[in-house]
Symmetry: C2
Subunit: 381 residues, 2 copies
């Protein structure tokens, strides 16, 4: 039995804690009493909670000494600094926080102290990168990697046909920031939401895929000379968002409305979409992902496709987004606790595909939890 | 030869002046020297101009004494007050200004002074109401009137597939204000843009029609127990605008953005659409109108359909909107100048359908100017 500390009792952190608490000691830390209460309710009697500000002096250092593995599921504004402090203390960390900063920049610090961080360990980034690397490693030569992933409402209700499991501002940021793709081995930028296409998914029908900047760490260590990441939405969503973007409704430039009043249209849009994009009571979400790796093996051209469709856990009232993200995180935390001598440093998921038996075990454990990643192999040409 | 004074040298006023100047003395009044210059260029040597503020004391009164007929083609903020002053002076006026106030409220004043105003005398309102009344008068019993009308760009360019010949704020107002329709002889309100449908137009294909509040004066004196007015747009436009409306981007309620900053989304939208909806250089516009009147005559059910499609006058670089609006106005001004004893008061176009020979003459004069209203008659049932 290992000791885990989960930092942040948000939607993802609470599910990670409940998962780990099946066999382990779990302490959940958050400054919000109501969040701690919700986390405890998810696994009554098996989760300890402590009301703490992770930013307060000594808090993280003392938690690092106490736990075998810490799980970072924090708000973006505190995530990077918290990780830095944990790594400075030599801790073992699984991180799934959304952070604008590059966690890999802390690699040197981690190596100095002997700390280990497996970062971006959710569904995408997370399983996306791990499975892409796993498939690529199974080929003699990987030629192309494509990651398609989206969090969606189960029902596409007009006008937006979209609901967001997190802040609209973060989604809008993805619709604006240029997407980095790999072409002939070189990183190039494309406008966000370019190269739209309809893609069929069994049981769902057509979704629309468009370029977003989701390759992240893969951009720096390409698995293949051609790599793209696209975000999936119900058809109709992108057309509307592109209309808004084109007309200036998503502009971050202050617009003068006269009388010395200026407003950033993007700020207003993020505010209005908070309501338009919030899930209605009882409205379910869905996570869809397809990772395609093409290449050659044994003189043949092959396509390896990993695909997953995660619904809501109605029994536990857990959203698909939280399940899909928390599950790999909780599993990786177990594995890191068991590692006798893990390599110090900050590691993105694709680096961990080589850990013996790791991917197979992750997929089997996902399946035990009702999340079934399917693999198919197609001959090409 | 009559003497006309055209108040306002905007896009419509300049075309009215040029039309009248073919046979008459025309004085154009505006406070903007560049607008006066443009108006003069439209008919060099045949138009006198005077730089005046119509709001300045005595200006309108003196013009009323000087001209046989005055044409109001003014900005909405000064239009109503100007009309009031002209009627107070006993003038004869054709008005085509866009005004939020009800011009018919000045009817009592006009009757007192013996003044005459034919108001709303553009294409719609204007020809729309006149032709509907004319068709209805040709039936023993009118049962249904439908006015479909739209100003459009000739090419439907995404995302909005729309360009505005005037201020976006006025267009947005039409997309928000409930539409009054007549049902079983009673006036009822419907949400703006409700009852959308695709309607085919020869040479154009399908346009989308949706309810707007365009019946105006016809609401108070219905021609038939069933009456609607719908605005025409290229398909796709309304869906986008309804998405904006539904998500709050067209709300007139101030929204708090924090830090004591509040903004009306509608104000921002109107500002952004000024650019998104402005015609590009060389981009042409189009005016489409279909007036359908159904009823009975000689024991039979009939449908009378007036239809017009007005393109740009490329030779004179006159927009379709300006031609379609200015032509009926200039023609009505001629007719009012010729009337020996016109009925005092404020008259909407539908009241003038009964003037002997007027409608036939209007249609013939439109045709001489390249604007062809076509009439077709269909047997029903």
């Amino acid at each position: 039995m290992a000791r885990f500390a989960v930092l942040g009792a948000g939607r993802v952190g609470a599910v990670v804690a409940a998962d780990l608490a099946r066999e382990h000691e779990v302490l959940v830390v958050d400054a919000r009493p109501e969040a701690l209460e919700r986390a405890q309710e998810a696994a009554p009697g098996r989760i300890a909670t402590r009301r703490l500000q992770v930013g307060a002096p000594g808090v993280l250092e003392s938690l690092a000494d106490e736990a075998d593995v810490l799980v970072g599921a924090l708000a973006s504004r505190v995530a990077h600094e918290s990780l830095r402090r944990l790594l400075g203390r030599g801790a073992r960390v699984i991180d799934v926080s959304f952070m604008a900063e590059d966690a890999l920049a802390l690699d040197g610090l981690a190596r100095e102290t002997g700390a280990v961080a497996w970062v971006d360990f959710g569904v995408a980034p997370g399983m996306s990168h791990l499975l892409a690397a796993h498939a690529a490693a199974g080929l003699e030569r990987a030629e192309r990697v494509e990651i398609l992933v989206g969090g969606l409402p189960r029902e596409p209700r007009p006008p937006f046909r979209y609901k967001a499991g997190f802040a609209p501002a973060d989604v809008l940021e993805e619709y604006l920031r240029p997407a980095r793709v790999v072409e002939r081995g070189r990183v190039v930028e494309r406008p966000a939401l370019a190269e739209r296409e309809l893609v069929d998914f069994e049981g769902l029908g057509a979704l629309e895929a468009a370029l977003t900047d989701g390759l992240r760490s893969l951009v720096h260590a390409p698995l293949a000379p051609e790599m793209v990441e696209k975000t999936l939405r119900w058809p109709g969503h992108y057309e509307l968002m592109l209309a808004l973007r084109e007309a200036g409704f998503l502009s971050a430039e202050p617009l003068d409305l006269g009388g010395g009043r200026a407003v950033r249209p993007l700020e207003l849009a993020a505010r209005l979409l908070e309501e338009a994009w919030s899930f209605a009571p009882g409205e379910e979400d869905l996570t869809v992902m397809r990772i395609t790796v093409e290449g050659r093996r044994g003189g043949r051209s092959l396509r390896l496709v990993h695909e997953v469709l995660v619904g809501q856990d109605r029994e536990r009232a857990t959203t698909s987004m939280a399940r899909a993200t928390a599950t790999p995180c909780a599993l990786a935390a177990r594995r890191l606790a068991e590692e006798r001598d893990p390599e110090p440093g900050v590691h993105p998921p694709e680096e961990l595909a080589a850990l013996p038996g790791f991917v197979e075990w992750l997929l089997a454990e996902h399946e035990r939890r009702g999340i079934r990643y399917r693999l198919r192999e197609e001959q090409l040409g």
